[in-house]
């Protein structure tokens, strides 16, 4: 038994400083449900089994490599893509020249969902939140003058993963680079799409087959390529705390391992090529501990599959700083936030890092904001000297204790998932999504009450904001892209395309490796949409089921004054009008980010509104049909992917043409301040940007309704 300092003595003095209150009054309950004490001592290290471990050794808490950043710092890998392949390519080349080390491609939502740019359901989405890829010709332009045998490329693609990965392989091939030389990562993490971002195409089961087909193909032909990037980032962005993020991400990973084993693969042939992707937010030490805990859990859980190679136990990860922590208000503060998050990622031992640009709460980064974001990392690496020592926080009573707490709590949650039969089944049962949404609603309520401080949003607000310059995507992008597809379709050998597509449908139906049959189709210039359709014939398209929690938002307030006062208003509204204020919340286009709309739905219902939720991915016509049938007073449009300028006016037009122009329209989400005027002119009543308190927005909606009479 080690000797511990006498905490009683400390408590006595502390109590004096606290004027008689006990030191326990300083305890803080973290969102994870961990009690954070004001003081940690060597006593808190008792019983922690990894305390004397070394970096590069199982359980890898201190890092997957022995030397970590002392030999080579993490890879600066900035995620980007917008407008067109040509513009994105130029942007990449400028960034590489300025010190970026790896590429990370952002695709537009049309591509994610397997639609070509000429599809009627994507009119608002082409080129908005990423680069549109319709055929290998776009892929070739995207990587023009970027040698794919030297550059490691990460691609965030899950839905249309087969045509996109095949496109990358063929683009390299036509550059003269053979498959086995390719390095980089395909996200290929479909499970989390059902939890948060909704950029899937097919139902979970065929999607899991696609994942294992890719793992299978790459372990044979692309040995240096990371076949899955198991992602917790999107869960964090959807509201998950560190324990939820860790547990569900590791559980997803275990599910992929089982799928690959069931497909007959050898554990050591593929497990070392699985990589991770975590999100890091503002709770500095918690984030550091989370990355350390995740490495421990992975090493521990992978042992059940009896790998022979230590590499199969090793969790390697990419990290992105939190987009949710960024604010539209006083946006330069975001540089500071991102710096802290980046430092936490480094102290947690990440292998690569993306730092967000300060303007990303309102739009895509400009060249200036992208430079600041990149330099944030370079300054930490080259000026701060934090890379001189491996895992410098090891031995910290607080960090080690926190690491151990996260391990315990996450393991309990993983056990719960296992009891449901693994992550696929848990997702079908809806458990992980509900947990994340509960956490999101609770947190929103904390922020709205000012219990969680966000500078510039709920504290130290700035009166006269100076607008920042934002990047605009030209509306001509889609027209150009459509003309370009038609040109490609004219030149290609139609019979060959047809033959290749039929081969894909057959393979989907009767077995075989899907990536293998997609490659010839891409060579023949079949499009992303055509290849996706060829599989959809067999697999079908997945429809999300929306479950909603209730009572959580108001519960966090404990019937605070503000809640009571809004409930009174909705009640009065009913007495006057004969029914409650009724609002339809809808997401149009291919933007699947539904955290915000879910939080608003549950909060509004708690405030006494009748809330209708539309299915995801609506066209403006579908949304207007629903608004009319449900006879709502207000339609609330959530837009996070830049399609608002096209889709909102179309919705208003569609309502007017059916005599329902009296329905109010409010818009929430990521809307550049410069677009507010445009939306007001189109007939929008209110725009609610990031950081709007839900209670404020509810009061404003009620004001607008009362004003209308």
């Amino acid at each position: 038994m080690a000797k511990h300092p006498d905490k009683k003595k400390w408590a006595e003095i502390a109590e004096k400083e606290l004027k008689g209150k006990s030191p326990e009054s300083l305890n803080w309950q973290s969102p994870e449900g961990i009690t954070i004490k004001p003081l940690y001592t060597s006593e808190d290290l008792e019983g922690i089994d990894f305390i004397d471990s070394l970096p590069g050794f199982d359980p890898f808490v201190r890092g997957p490599r022995a030397t970590m950043y002392t030999l080579r710092p993490w890879t600066i890998r900035q995620y980007a893509g917008f407008s067109s392949a040509k513009e994105s390519n130029e942007f990449y080349k400028r960034n590489l020249a300025a010190g970026q080390k790896g590429l990370s491609v952002a695709f537009d939502l049309a591509t994610h969902r397997g639609y070509d740019s000429d599809h009627p359901r994507v009119i608002g989405d082409v080129g908005k939140a990423g680069v549109p890829i319709d055929s290998v010709e776009d892929m070739k332009i995207l990587f023009n003058e970027i040698p794919l045998d030297k550059m490691s490329v990460s691609m965030t693609m899950n839905g249309a993963v087969l045509p996109v990965l095949a496109g990358y392989i063929v683009a390299a091939e036509e550059q003269g680079v053979s498959q086995e030389k390719l390095t980089g990562t395909i996200q290929n993490d479909i499970l989390k799409e059902y939890l948060t971002r909704n950029t899937y195409i097919y139902p979970p089961e065929p999607s899991m087959r696609i994942v294992s087909d890719i793992i299978g193909y790459c372990s044979e032909h692309m040995p240096k390529y990371n076949t899955v990037s198991i992602s917790g980032y999107h869960m964090m962005e959807a509201g998950a705390d560190s324990v939820l993020q860790t547990a569900f991400t590791i559980a997803d990973g275990i599910e992929y391992v089982r799928a690959a084993l069931n497909a007959g693969l050898d554990i050591d042939a593929f497990a070392p090529r699985l990589s991770f992707f975590f999100g890091v937010g503002m709770n500095f030490f918690m984030e550091i501990a989370m990355l350390r805990a995740a490495r421990y859990l992975w090493a521990d859980l992978m042992k059940q599959f009896n790998p022979k190679s230590q590499k199969s136990l090793m969790l390697r990860t990419h990290v992105q700083t939190s987009g949710w922590s960024l604010t539209q208000q006083d946006p330069y503060n975001n540089i500071v936030r991102t710096t802290l998050e980046a430092l936490a990622a480094a102290l947690g031992g990440t292998q690569s890092l993306h730092t967000n640009a300060f303007d990303e709460a309102v739009s895509l980064p400009t060249d200036l904001s992208a430079r600041v974001a990149r330099n944030t990392q370079i300054i930490i690496q080259e000026e701060s000297q934090v890379t001189r020592v491996v895992d410098p926080l090891a031995g910290s009573y607080y960090v080690e204790s926190l690491t151990s707490e996260i391990v315990k709590k996450a393991r309990a949650l993983i056990d719960e998932v296992e009891e449901l039969g693994g992550m696929t089944k848990a997702i079908v049962a809806g458990m992980p999504k509900m947990r994340i949404e509960e956490a999101a609603a609770r947190r929103q309520a904390k922020i709205d009450q000012g219990k969680e401080v966000i500078v510039g949003v709920n504290k130290y607000k700035v009166e006269d904001e100076v607008p920042i310059e934002v990047r605009e995507i030209s509306e001509a992008v889609r027209d150009n892209q459509v003309a370009w597809i038609n040109q490609i379709k004219e030149k290609r050998d139609a019979a060959e395309v047809k033959r290749c597509l039929e081969a894909i449908t057959n393979c989907a139906e009767s077995g075989g490796n899907l990536l293998e049959v997609c490659i010839p189709a891409v060579r023949a210039r079949a499009t992303v949409g055509e290849i996706s359709d060829a599989m959809e014939k067999v697999f079908g398209r997945y429809t999300a089921t929306t479950q909603c929690i209730s009572g959580v938002y108001a519960g966090e307030y404990q019937d605070d004054e503000i809640i009571v006062s809004i409930r009174k208003r909705t009640e009065q509204f009913m007495e006057k009008r004969g029914r409650r204020p009724r609002i339809l919340l809808t997401k149009m286009g291919q933007d699947g980010h539904d955290r915000g709309i879910k939080v608003v739905a549950t909060a509004y219902a708690d405030l006494g509104f009748d809330v209708d939720i539309s299915p995801m991915f609506q066209t403006p016509e579908e949304a207007s049909k629903m608004a009319i049938e449900n006879d709502v007073h207000v339609v609330g449009v959530s837009s996070l992917a830049g399609a608002h300028k096209i889709l909102v006016p179309q919705l208003i037009e569609s309502l007017k043409s059916q005599g329902a122009g009296d329905i109010l329209i409010v818009v929430g989400g990521i809307i550049p301040p410069g677009d507010y005027e445009f939306l007001f002119n189109a007939g929008v009543t209110n725009v609610f940007g990031p950081g709007t308190m839900v209670t404020d927005s509810a009061n404003q909606v009620l004001n607008a309704l009362e004003k209308k009479g």
Partner: protein, 332 residues
């Protein structure tokens, strides 16, 4: 903004205008006395155009797959050129009074199809109340030309009794397994079912569903059927793979045919009308009673006396009713 001219509603509904139909349902559901008066005028004018649909009630516990089932059946019916209307009753929060209506997220194709009309309604704080209004909404849908009207309700409260009393065919959806045979659904619900379907009979669950079907058949055999011409069948179905959906619809039609042949169909609708009449009378009496100035004056005092133990419940009620009865006699 609510239109006050009954002609707007009547003409619109008869023309099949969606917006007018939707506004009429809003009017029916409104709690304002002035709206209720307008509602009666509108309904009176529409009444000759009602009665021509197949009225189908569907219930089941949350998670049984009601909405997905309706999506599958509805899509199939519109392919057969049916005009399908769906009225869904969603529970409201007792605390805030608000509600979240997400039925259409599980009816993605049907809700986007111009041939289908789907209207979710919040139950409000009193479940019985909205169900009462659903009956009138059915009539409006019929007047608008819909020949199949489905009413969806959550099978955990009392609303399904009212729904069963306003439809021709009442379908109860259940799930296989989970141990408890009736899964929180009250036994009484099974007694009023015209058919039971074990949903989610797909994939690994087919055998479980078949076992559950046998168990429910046994349970049903011990109950006396509500009609001599119809023994409620137990079926299995999968809204996901579309199996068994046709068979259920076939049963609905068969039921209608047999009931009509035996004269039961009209008898049932007449009975429902009678129940409806008595219910309205009950409700109307209560409403009238509590609004009487004398009642308003006496009630608080008697309540206080009961609370304080100065009088018994029985004596209090008798005193109020007797005083009132004397007063009414003196008036006349």
């Amino acid at each position: 903004m609510i239109e006050t001219d009954p002609k707007y509603y009547v003409d619109g509904v008869l023309e099949g205008n969606r917006k007018a139909l939707s506004k009429t349902i809003t009017l029916i559901e409104s709690a304002l006395p002035s709206h209720q008066k307008l509602t009666h005028e509108v309904l009176d004018a529409l009444l000759p155009h009602t009665g021509n649909s197949i009225r189908l009630g569907i219930t089941g516990v949350p998670g049984v797959g009601k909405s997905t089932f309706i999506e599958s059946l509805g899509l199939r019916l519109i392919e057969e050129e049916h005009q399908v209307a769906i009225l869904a009753v969603d529970p409201s929060s007792a605390k805030s009074g608000g509600s979240i209506m997400g039925d259409k997220t599980r009816m993605e194709k049907l809700s986007a199809d111009p041939r289908a009309f789907i209207r979710p309604s919040p139950a409000g704080r009193t479940l019985g109340g909205v169900a009462r209004k659903t009956r009138e909404s059915i009539l409006v849908c019929e007047a608008a030309g819909f020949d199949v009207v489905m009413v969806e309700t959550v099978g955990v409260g009392q609303s399904e009794y009212s729904v069963a009393s306003m439809v021709d065919f009442f379908l109860v959806l259940l799930l296989a397994g989970a141990g408890d045979e009736l899964q929180g659904i009250k036994r009484g619900i099974i007694e009023i079912a015209d058919a039971i379907a074990v949903n989610k009979a797909d994939g690994n669950n087919i055998e479980n569903a078949a076992n559950a079907k046998a168990a429910y058949e046994n349970a049903l055999h011990m109950m006396a059927p509500a009609s001599p011409v119809w023994q409620p069948p137990v079926m299995t179905c999968s809204a996901l793979t579309m199996t068994g959906i046709d068979a259920i619809w076939h049963n609905v039609l068969e039921h209608r045919h047999l009931m009509q042949q035996a004269g039961e169909f009209d008898r049932k609708r007449r009975e429902q009308a009678m129940d409806w009449f008595l219910y309205l009378l009950d409700e109307g009496l209560k409403e009238w009673f509590y609004q009487l100035p004398d009642v308003k004056e006496m009630l608080p005092g008697i309540r206080r006396q009961i609370t304080d133990g100065r009088t018994t419940a029985m004596a209090g009620a008798r005193r109020l009713l007797e005083t009132l009865s004397t007063m009414l006699q003196n008036d006349s």
